[in-house]
Symmetry: C2
Subunit: 216 residues, 2 copies
């Protein structure tokens, strides 16, 4: 008699995440889950991405925070549709929140959906939300030792965006040590060096996003 | 017949936190729970505090991270006893972890126990660990809007330490807006402006800590 092995029994969250992803793919929407510590510059990167891509790509944004609508307000000011999720204390987005938020997004009119997760280097890495791409920002002032302290986040993502490069001259951040640490955890990770203040590296990041759009 | 109202039924974590606090107080140890985002400078502040106070105060440190012993190693190099907690994925310290860690601390030989929580502005605020004082750092590069986005953390603490003040000239951080936001949530919060790089504000912070030691 053979023992029955039940594989791929997804958790309720993962099942819902898979449904979200199916809905997005059916509508030819590329969703990007953007994660980082608080204040690493997620919203600023989204605003710069909008500036560069808005003429040729239809963008929508989902913003998530414990509280407040500060970030969605900043996006809407740019004339881009944005939905704000308030998690009410929860330290990450889950698939159910995205499922609800997607009801307020015009998927037929969207090519690229940028999802800003709650500022947190831990829990967002543990919860799939249905985005096709997961990326993270690590800002220069946070220091180059973060891959050792928050390894799951660095292994979960396809791209690591080093932000606030304009702070580098003031900092003891060791870029080559950081690259080594990231590549040790996640050899395939794509790395970008950007500054939303000077514009450094934004074209590379945007070009990568566009290449992902073409692939989707 | 009167309805019996059960009040103050503490959760298992809160019960254990109360026990930790009792043990600390019996041993005349002041424990300070230090919280912030990843990379806001908790370890650097602890190292500066050690430098200023080590001649007259017996200090011990508990370091917590998801993974690695980088921070405890830095403390031990200074000749100060340090215990590293690896939470193995958990995004905050809980009372049970501190209860276990306290077994490795010589309480009879300690006046001040500095506890560095996991880098996270959300969950550490929700879990009592038994420290008599809870404080947080917010670094200049994180931005002045964080009290609106992470209100619980800012209401939980007795002191808010604005760190990396040396980055202020490069930043659009509005100090008076930040003070207003913090005071709106937590009128009694004590605020400090520090830079571990220039030494700015460290004496004020250390003087406050010493006044708390005398009160304990």
């Amino acid at each position: 008699m053979k023992v029955k092995v039940l594989q791929n029994i997804l958790s309720a969250n993962d099942q819902l995440a898979a449904k979200n992803q199916e809905l997005l793919s059916q509508n030819k929407v590329l969703a990007v889950n953007i994660m980082s510590s608080p204040g690493a510059g997620k919203t600023s990167l989204i605003l710069e991405t909008i500036k560069k891509l808005r003429d040729r790509v239809r963008i929508a944004v989902i913003e998530a925070d414990i509280a407040s609508t500060i970030d969605a307000d900043r996006i809407i000011k740019e004339g881009v549709p944005a939905v704000q999720i308030n998690t009410g204390g929860q330290c990450h987005i889950d698939a159910n929140m995205i499922s609800n938020a997607l009801e307020s997004v015009s998927l037929a009119k969207t090519d690229l959906l940028l999802i800003e997760n709650v500022g947190n280097l831990v829990c967002p890495a543990e919860f799939k939300i249905g985005a096709q791409k997961n990326v993270m920002l690590l800002s220069i002032p946070e220091g180059d030792d973060k891959p050792y302290k928050y390894p799951l986040m660095f292994t979960t993502v396809e791209a690591v965006i080093i932000s606030k490069m304009d702070y580098l001259p003031l900092s003891d951040f060791n870029l080559s040590a950081f690259y080594r640490a990231v590549k040790g955890l996640n050899p395939k990770a794509k790395l970008f060096q950007v500054s939303c203040k000077t514009g450094e590296g934004i074209p590379d990041w945007v070009a990568w996003l566009e290449s992902q759009l073409k692939g989707s």
